[in-house]
Each structure stands twice: as C-alpha cells, then as structure tokens.
C-alpha cells in the first residue's frame, strides 16, 4: 500500500505506527474519534476537547510541572508525542472533510451544459448597409472622401445644373416623383456632384452613397426607392483611362483580382463622353460567367463645370445601383424584400465575425 503510506508518511513521525503504538490505547481511541468526526464542527469540538485551554492534553502538559525532573522528561515526551499525533490527526481529518465538502458542493452545482445558452440580443445591419459599407471601405482605401446629401431636391440640382434641359426627353429617362410644391425626390445621387463642387476646390475624389427615387412600376427588380453610389473625381487632367482604372480597381476589390471591366458608349446629359460599365464575373446564382451591367459613367460635362464655375479642369463620374450588388450575389428573388422590415429576411444577413 505504497500510496497509503506516502499520504500519511508525509505528515511525519506521529503517524508512524510504531510511535502511535507507543501512545497507548487511550491515544488510539482519541485518534479514532477524530477520524470519525462527521463534519468540521464536530472536529472543532474535538480540537477544543483535546487541545483547548481546558483540553485533556493541555491539562496534562500543565500537570507536568508537578513531576520530578526525570519523570517529567519521560511523561513530557509522551504527552508531546500525543499532542503531535492529535494535531496531525485533526489536520488530516480536516483536509479530508474539506475535500468531501468541496466534492458535495461541486456535485450540487452541476448544470446541464447541453441546455441552450442565454443569448444577449443579437442585432445586425441591413444587407444594403453591409454592401454599402463594403463599397465605402473600397473607396476610402483608394483615398476617396465620403459625403452625403439631401433626398428632397430641387430641379436645379437634380436636372438643370446637370445639363438636363427643361422639356427635354432626357428627363423621361428619370421618372420623377415631383412634390406639390415643385421640388422632387432626387432621381440619382448626382445632385451631390454639383453641391460638392459648389463648396470645394479641386483636386478631390469623393463618393456619395444614398437613397434615390424613381416613379416607375414596382416589380421584383424595380423599386420606387433604391440606393446608388456615385463617384466624382476632378483634377487638372483626369482622363477616361483614370475612370476605367477606378472602375477596375473597384471591381477587383469587390469581386477579386483579374476581374475585367467594360465601357460602352451611352448618353447621360451630365457626362461627355459618356459610357455604361459592366463587370465580367461569375454569377453566383447561375454559375455562369457574364457581364454584369452596373451603371453609368463618363467625363464630367463642360456644362456641369460651367454651372459650378470650374475652369481648366477635367473629371470623371460614375454611379451605380447598390441593390443590384446585393440582389445578385445573395440570390434574393425580390427587391421589395429590402424595404419590408421582415426579420425573416433581415436576419439572414447580419454581418460576419
């Protein structure tokens, strides 16, 4: 029983069976009583009974003074040995009882770890915010400033200053929500081009995210309210190649290295030359490689610069719808889901770790 021996042996001589033997039957009875103590209170009572001021052993030690020197040495040695043995036994029992107590406590505190956790409320961002944030990350990393502007606009900022003449069919391309007081809900984020240029001097690079509105029939791919992101870069000599470079960098950052971009001529009154741009990508929905028509772009029209009093500069602008960048990759079948506040939709895209 080597293990047993080690435990007791470590507490020294009093535990030695030979020594204990020598203490006599009385001591053996005491040590057994100590070993049987059922709890720490009982053990404390035994300590008082043996070792307290009026305890058996204390009394015997006090009585030693009355003995002759020779006898005192012999008896004293025995009482001291007894004292040590009792102390050791009490300590031993105490440790044992504490261990039992802890075990009982731990057993009592056991929980069923397979029950579900209590969750702090978990919120999330709207998918369009997540996509916008991703875009803003890309553009801020490319050194663009982020600005925003009003949604209720004037004819001047939404059309006239952007070279949409009054009574021109170009306005028909932007089905407009007019207000009864002659203002309008902006049909694009481009009014911020003019607002920004009115209060800043080139060179600059800005992006404008925001809501825009078109009064057209609503269906699974068309909403009366949606979001655009507009970029405007003006400097001493900005070229169409800078424009294509910027669109390409955005495409690389959004979709991955090696992404191709395409410009094709088209018409927007506030750019000249104008183009629409597309990104060559693998449609995650169909798995097919195809051109994703994203938006319009071009070189800022001289009449727009004229409207804000700029001279001797060139610039590019591009803009595109954000919903499309959320609908297609996440395979969302109906654009109207974005504005219905349905948690069953919203909670599917809350952000990532």
């Amino acid at each position: 029983m080597a293990a047993e021996h080690d435990k007791t042996g470590s507490r020294g001589a009093p535990s030695d069976p030979d020594t204990r033997e020598g203490l006599g039957a009385e001591a053996a009875e005491w040590l057994r009583t100590i070993g049987d103590a059922q709890d720490l209170t009982a053990l404390q009572q035994l300590r008082v009974a043996y070792l307290g001021k009026k305890g058996e052993i204390t009394q015997r030690l006090k009585a030693l003074g009355a003995l002759a020197a020779e006898e005192r040495r012999v008896v004293g040695g025995r009482v001291n040995a007894l004292k040590q043995a009792v102390e050791a036994a009490i300590e031993e029992r105490k440790v044992a009882l504490e261990r039992l107590l802890l075990a009982a406590q731990l057993a009592g505190e056991r929980v069923d770890v397979t029950l579900p956790g209590t969750r702090p409320p978990q919120g999330g961002l709207h998918l369009l915010t997540l996509v916008t944030n991703r875009l803003l990350d890309v553009f801020t990393s490319l050194g663009y400033e982020v600005v925003t502007g009003p949604e209720l606009e004037t004819d001047h900022y939404n059309f006239a200053s952007l070279n949409f003449p009054a009574d021109h069919p170009a306005r028909d391309t932007q089905d407009t929500f007019w207000t009864t007081d002659g203002r309008l809900l902006r049909t694009h984020t481009s009014p911020m081009q003019v607002r920004y240029m009115e209060t800043h001097k080139p060179p600059f690079k800005v992006v404008v995210p925001g809501k825009v509105f078109r009064n057209e029939a609503v269906d699974v791919t068309h909403e009366a309210q949606f979001h655009q992101l507009e970029a405007l870069v003006v400097g001493e000599r900005i070229t169409m190649a800078d424009l294509k470079g910027a669109i390409n960098e955005m495409a690389q950052a959004l979709i991955g290295p090696g992404t191709r971009t395409r410009l094709q001529p088209t018409y927007f009154p506030f750019v000249e030359p104008g183009a629409e741009f597309a990104i060559w990508w693998t449609n995650p929905r169909s798995g097919r490689e195809e051109w994703l028509e994203l938006g319009g772009c071009g070189m800022v029209h001289p009449k727009v610069f004229e409207a804000v009093g700029y001279e001797g500069v060139t610039g590019f602008a591009f803009g595109f719808g954000i919903e499309r960048l959320a609908l297609v990759p996440y395979a969302i079948p109906d654009i109207r889901y974005f504005y219905q506040g349905d948690l069953r939709v919203l909670e599917q895209f809350r952000g990532t770790l």
Binding site: T118, G123, G143, D172, T179, E236, M240, Y267, L343
Partner: protein, 782 residues
Amino acid sequence: MKVPYSWLRTFFDEAVAFPEPRRLAELLDGLGLAVESVEEVPGAPEGAIVVDVRSVAPIEGSDHLSRTVVFDGGTEHVVVCGDPNVAAGMRTALVLPGTYLPAVGLTVQAREIRGVPSSGMLASAKELGLFEHGAGVLALGPDAPLGAKLAELWPAETVLELELTPNRADAFSLLGVARDVGAKLGLAVRHPAAGADCGDPAGDDGLTLDVQDPAAAPRFTLRKVSGVTVRPSPVWLQRRVAAVGLRPRNNVVDATNFITFELGQPNHAYDASVFEGGHMVVRRARQGERLTLLNDEELALDPADLLITTTGPAGDVPLGLAGVMGGAYGGVESSTTELVLEAALFDPVTVRRAGQRHKVITDARTRFERGVDPNLQELASARLAQLICDVAGGWPDPGITVFGQDLTRPAVPYRPSRVRFLMDFDVPGRAQRDYLVALGCGVQERAPDDWLVAPPSWRYDIALEEDVVEEVGRLHGYEHIGMTEPDMRFVPPASDPTHRRLRDRLAAVGLQETMTYVFTGAAELAKAAAPAPVVELASPQGTEKGVLRTALYPGLLAAAVANRAAGALSLFEVGHVFGDVEEERVALLMRGDRVEGGWRSGLAGDFFTLKGVLEGLAGLEGAVVETTPAEFAHLHPGVSAEVRWNGVPVGSAGRLHPAVAAAFELPEVYVAELRLPLGGKRIAFKEIVRQPYAERDLAVVLPVQVTYADLAARLVAAAGDKLISLQPFDEYRGGGLPSGSRSLAMRFRFRDAARALTDAEVDALMENVIRAVRSAGYDIRA
C-alpha cells in the same frame, strides 16, 4: 427601335462582307446603340400558298360561314371561311391541310363543316404568325404570284431591338443605324432617297399652305400624288412594316410608315379632297376647339396646341395635332385616288408639351421630341411620293409646296489632340477625319490641331468639342481605353456621414437595422400620431404612398406589425424625415423581453432597457444623455420623455401610446427617435484614483411627482465634491408609505483622491445629505 436585319442589309452593297446578326449586335453595343434583344422572327408557315378568292357563297343554316372557292393558279380549292369580309377577287393565302400553325398551336385539317368539305383554311395574319391582326384573313397585293409558297415571299427575319438614348434622335431610323455601322466598318451607305425627284417649288400644284407659327413648324412640305389605288400592300412592304412592329393596313399607309422608319421622317398622307377650295393652315388651337384623333379619342384642345387644319369643303376643320397624331378626318380611305403628302418639322417642346397635356405617346411624338433632321423633309417627301407610286400606282405632281429653309448647325472648333487628352488613347488625324466624314460631318483642317467640324443637320448632339471627341472615341472603340490612376494630391478628411459607427453600435447591442419607405400616407402618419405631412407628392404610387414621412418610428411600427409573429423585437432605422426641413434621424423600437430567457428567466424590456441603450451609446462618446418628462402625442403620457444629448433636446423616448398601439394591434412597444448626428464630448484622460471609497445607503420617501433627477440634483449638491457616484438601487411604492409617495433607496460612494476618508467624515457628509432631504420636505425611510 426594331431593326430588321435584312432591311438594314439593303443599305449596303450586296457584294461587301457584312457582319452576322450576333456580331452586328456587339458592334452596335460598342457604338452606343445598345441592343436590348436579338429576336428570330419566324416566317410564314410552309404549306401556305397564295390564292385568289373566286367565289363566296353563304352556307345554309350559318350566319357567318361561307363556302369559299379559291384558285392557286392551277387548281381550285373549296374551303369554309368565317370571315365576313372575304370577297371574290381578293388575294390571300390558303393554308393546306396538314400544315402546323405555331402561332396558334393548331394543325389545319381537311374536314367537313356543315356538310361542306373544307380542304384547308384561309388564315389571318395572326394565325399565320406574321403580325398582330386577327380580324379578317390576310390580304395580299397583286404582286404576290398565285400558287407561290408564302414562306418564300415572307421568310424568317432577325430583328435587333435597340434601346436608343434620347440624344441619338438620328439613329431612330434604318438610315441612321446604317450610317453608324458604315462609319464603323468603313462601308459606303446607300441613301434610299438618292436621286428621288424632289419636285419644283415654283410649280403650281394647286395647294396653298399657311404656316401661322413658323417657330413651332419651321419646315413644312406638301406634295400631291394623283391616280393611286388603295389596296393591300405588296408582301415585301407588309413584311417590312410588320418587322418594325406595326400592322400593315394598305399600300399608302404602309408606305408612310415605311418612310418613317427608313429615313426617320414622320409624315402623313391626306385624301386631297379635304383641301378642295381651301388651303392648309398650321395654327394654334382656338379656345374650346375639339379634335377627334385617328384612334377615335376626342381631345379638348388647348390654345397652346399646334394644329394642322384645312379650310376645305367641310369648313375650318383640324386634321391633326401637329407632330403627335393625325385626326379621324381627312385620312386615306379605300376610295381615295388623290393624296396630299405632308412631311414637316415641328418644334420639340411644342410637340412634347402637347403630348404631355393630352397624355398621348406616339412614334411621331417621340421622334419630334428628340429631334428630326431639319433638312430632311423635301427629300423624304420625294422618296415617299416615289414609293407610293411604286406600290399604289399614280404619279407625283411636278410641283411641291415648301415652307422654311435648310438649317446649318454651327461648326465646332476641334483639336484632334483632345482625343488623347480625354480618352488617353491615340487616333491618328487621318482616321479621325474619316470617322467624322463618314458620320456626315464637314471637316476643315485649319491647322494640324485646329479643325472646324461642321455637324450634319441630323446630329443635334454634336455642339461641343467634347461631343466630337466622343464621336471619334466611340467609333475607334471604348475597348481601347486604358487603365490608369488619377494623378492628384488629395487627403480625404475623416468623417462618418453615413453614421456607420452608430449603426455598428446599435447592431452590437442587439438591434436589427431596417429600411422602410420615405413615402407614406397621411392616414398612416395620423394613425401613428406622427406630425402631419409637410411634403406631398404630385403623382404618388397610391394614397398610402402620397406624402413624405415626418418621423421614422411609423415605419418601425409597420415593421413591428410585419413581424408580429416574432417574439421580442429590437429594430432601428437611420434615415431622412421631411418636416419643414429635411433631417437625418435614428429611430429605435423595442418590444418584448430585452433578453429572452427561454427555459429560465430573461430580462423584461421596458422604458429603462430602451433608455439604457441610449445611455450606453452616450457613454461611448463621453456624452451625457438625459430624459425629462415631456408629452409627445404618440407616447404614453406617463412614459414619455424628451431626450437631451449633452443638454440639447434631440428627440423623444417612451412607451408607444396604448391608443396608437391598439390602432396597430401591437402590444406594449417602446420607441425612441433622435436627430443626427449625436455629438460626443472630447474625452480627457483621468488619472486612476487608488484610494478606497466609502459607501452609505439611504432611502428617501418623496412624492411620486418628484423625479429622481430632481432629487439626485439636490443630493449631489448637498453631498459635496467627495461624492463620486450616486446610484438608486430600489424603488418601492406600496404599503407603509403615505399615499402618493414612493421610496427611493440610493447608494452613495465617497472618496478623496489623496487619502482615505474616516467614518466620521463620511457620516458628516451624509448628515448634510439628510438635512437636504428634510429641508426639501421629504422623509428618510428607516
């Protein structure tokens, strides 16, 4: 616009190589003439042959069926026909038994109808799959040879549908598209009107024209054609007209439509008799004047409307709304033999406003709005007269009546070097010149980098140097544009205009972001007890979307309704609201438990869990948020607070008024709405204090009307500057207290930065607090 491939092909020499439809579509896309679709349109079914109707006899016992005998040039066939207009002498198509008609999913069978054996079927254009016209059997012109297979006369076609941008009015015709393709490929374009007899303006054609508003009708031509026979068009013409999406009607009308699409010149053919003894007057409408359009719609005219009128036999009668639509009177009838052809130019704005006023959208209006070639009218008139004589017989009058002059567009000073400057690619001068000339521009090279480019009359969109750069650029191809980075020094200022950090924080403490519509209904706002609308939409998509929101929370209430089935709900929205001024706000909505316990207890949501979210946000920014009792129409009067951010009122927070909640059938809901941006305070570092603090608790009994904020202000002042915090830890209302009272138990913490405070010192400070409580008339609860 629909571009039939075989028609476009006729503008180029048959001998030259020409791209196949798919390649052509790519080419057009690259030119800025975006191709929306490429459609293969099937031709006539095999098994349909050209026949003449020889006799038509009613079948006894039927009110509409007839026994019709047709002749294919060799054999007679008997068929039963249900078309009341079938008449002897008519040329049409017989569908032989066994022929499948894919347009209607039917196989024609030889069968007996009412005792008459019918060996085939006379079919309508719709049944044959040729064009949308199901009333009556197909009517063919005399050019179609008897017995010929219709499929050979009417073969399959490839139609490219272009989505034209408003600037490219010139491309709204086959000629215009051909010009771009020719310029791109370096191919000569055959002008269909080349060599046509334009007539002699000095000749006497018996017509008089009075243009009373030259600004609205700057160019006007009339040409008389006599001796025509109105009948079904030849197959080739019907095919062309059908291919651009129109319904063939008769040879004259089909010719006018053909010319519109061929050259881009809207035009009109009148029966000449309506001018007899009078003249044509182009004038504004008179007050109260009315016009019945071709489609039988009657318009109450506006004095701003421009009219084509005649003072002929019927008196002063309007013939049409200029540039928009012709009238019911004066048009071509089957009996018409003499025509007056009109080809005119109208002011885009006059036409656009008339169209908008009367809500009429026509092909002519679209063309005039965008801009018709101002020098095309005489040539188009000549080409039309020639075509009508080809398909309807007759002869044009040697004279022509013309009003107005040719227009010359201002020449544009142009530096070829600007192509490199803007596009960042090189196109040699010679190539630039070739492109521009092919587009119809006059090019005068005054110096190597100083040209004068004279745009052709049909290009409204070339007025600036940049416009010329775009022309060269698109013909050279945008695929040659390189990719560079802007060369500039610009350090963007740090800012967060999209309130991204606020959104992140709200999401992090458990709120889900939503986005709702900025438009709502006045009734919806009233139901939510929100401020009355200020901004109203002129033509909304329904009354429930007729005004702009004056608050965000009604949208969140709608979302809460939509998510009625969900348990607890915590939503927020960042967005604009439109009161007297437009402002950005954030709104929060909470319903149900703040923390859902599930199988154990959670944390119920209430005003204080909502306020706690605001306090948490404020704490991040070092800002102070306070809520003071204030009534808001949409909030429960007893759980309603104005929110102050750093002392400034920014909005409201509270429990939704039970009446509003009931209107939305919502349970207890808490909402807050704050104006953005919420400012912070500059946070300066405070050294850590290592001294211990002393705590004392005190319960104060006070009237329920007295707010904790008022009490706390009093206690804080009394406690002095050793007080480092005051926290209420219990509120008690109930037995043992005077009615109308409550008890607030608070924990005070005192500390001195330099040394430990003694019990006696702390007790003395608390004595001050207690004195303050008593002097305010409140009690201490033992």
